[in-house]
């Protein structure tokens, strides 16, 4: 009744024909691989041009696309229970939280470090 959906409904029957997991098609795996290699080539190529502040965003953007591909297809997140994807995203969210606030603070107090460095020079 108030069963929330979880990876396995508790004590589900053990019939031999319950599939354990989805088998990903060969074609998809190969396509993803090709895409990953292409994206790698693109970031490397792009890194020789200077986009100023955008360099970081471009590099990280491409990396994120690649990471998403790996997670969705190689790691089966696309086909598995959505719960895995959820917790993975949550984990990345916590990474962002940690990194974000710490960085916010470090950038805020940095001027005090700089004045110190200038005065001791």
């Amino acid at each position: 009744m108030d069963h929330t959906k979880t990876p396995s409904a508790p004590n589900s029957a053990s019939q031999a024909d319950v599939p354990l997991a989805h088998v990903v098609e060969l074609r998809i795996l190969l396509t993803v691989f090709a895409a990953l290699i292409m994206l790698t080539a693109i970031t490397v190529a792009v890194s020789y041009f200077d986009f100023g502040a955008f360099n970081l965003s471009v590099a990280l953007g491409v990396a994120t696309i690649k990471a998403t591909l790996v997670a969705l297809y190689f790691m089966h997140l696309r086909y598995d229970n959505a719960f895995y994807a959820t917790i993975f995203v949550i984990a990345v969210g916590f990474l962002g939280l940690f990194l974000g606030i710490t960085m916010l603070d470090a950038v805020e107090y940095y001027p005090d470090v700089q004045t110190w460095q200038q005065s001791t020079r």
């Binding site: 107090y109 005090d112 470090v113 004045t115 110190w116 460095q117």
Partner: protein, 327 residues
């Protein structure tokens, strides 16, 4: 070994008389410290909820104590409105507390313009307060009624400056500046302590805050550095030896402490940790004070941190003269 000197006879001790202030907070050296009302506000909230919770708990324990044959009464097991009420009321209360704390904090953070500026350096384990005229002292002297801003840093590990009477506290972080400001409104002498753990003598890293009247302060500042010029160098060095905290690590009677005793070292040849030797002369002593890590004496840890910027050249000369007299 029990040290009974610290004990006072009970008769001598009306519990709070010695430091004054209220039951909870020490006597303040400022008029209307911004923190105090917030403190009492929170205290009131705490008392209220503590007595509410523990009172109800006690009441229920007595009133509904298990009695033979008496069954527990049926009540509902959930009541959403009630839950919302006892979530929202505390939420409002903590909202008020946050705001009060924040407002007082901003007042304590933002220094007014025209502050008298003093530089503070913390090192293991002493305070050095440097005045605008370049003189350094190991106690904090400030004029009354004038906002004072302390710009602070540390030469070794993290320290923290706390003046309970002024309700200010701020860490001294190596490699950067931090600051606090305050305005003392009452003349007198107050405590200053280090509240960030910083090693062996952390609890002895103390100083006094002396609040002078405006004229006294100027006079003090003029006269304070006098001993360097009026006394013979060796005697001035002796005072400095105290004030800069050398005595904490170096005895003058031959017993080794954190650092070697300085008794009779002048002119001797010492073995260094890397196997070399060095003759103790003026230059070596000067180097030991300014760049202690350059030559480490065998058998000691490299824990002495630099006095660069904390002693002037003239002061080093007096220290050397003083060390020469230790025989």
């Amino acid at each position: 070994m029990i040290d009974l000197d610290g004990l006072y006879s009970l008769a001598e001790l009306p519990l709070l008389a010695q430091t004054g202030g209220s039951f909870w907070l020490p006597d303040a050296a400022t008029k209307d410290p911004a923190m105090d009302p917030v403190f009492y506000l929170i205290l009131a909230v705490c008392a209220l909820f503590f007595f509410l919770v523990v009172g109800l708990m006690g009441l229920f324990v007595v009133r509904y104590a298990r009695r033979p044959g008496v069954k527990p009464q049926k009540t509902t097991t959930h009541h959403t409105l009630l839950e919302i009420v006892w979530s929202v009321i505390p939420l409002i209360i903590v909202g008020v507390i946050f705001y009060q704390g924040f407002a007082a904090y901003m007042e304590m953070q933002n220094a007014p313009s025209g502050c008298y500026e003093i530089r503070v350096t913390g090192r293991q384990w002493q305070w050095v307060f440097t005045y605008p005229n370049g003189y350094s002292d190991d106690n904090l002297h400030v004029p009354v009624d004038l906002p004072v801003k302390l710009t602070m840093t540390s030469t070794d590990v993290i320290h923290s400056l706390w003046i309970p009477a002024l309700r200010v506290k701020m860490d001294l972080v190596p490699g950067r500046y931090t600051s606090v400001w305050f305005r003392a409104d009452k003349e007198g002498t107050y405590r200053l302590l280090c509240t960030e753990y910083c090693g062996d003598e952390h609890s002895n890293m103390l100083a006094a805050v002396v609040v002078h009247s405006a004229e006294d302060f100027q006079e003090w500042l003029k006269g304070a550095a006098d001993y360097l010029t009026t006394l013979p160098p060796a005697e001035a060095g002796k005072i400095l030896y105290q004030r800069r905290g050398c005595f904490q690590c170096h005895s003058t009677d031959g017993t080794a402490g954190t650092g070697p005793s300085l008794l009779g070292i002048y002119g001797r040849t010492h073995t260094l940790a890397d196997g070399g030797t060095v003759v103790v002369d003026d230059n070596y002593i000067r180097q030991s004070i300014l760049e202690p890590q350059a030559k480490i004496l065998a058998g000691y840890q490299p824990v002495m941190s630099t006095y660069q910027g904390l002693v002037t050249d003239d002061e080093i000369t007096t220290l050397i003269e003083f060390i020469k007299t230790l025989k």
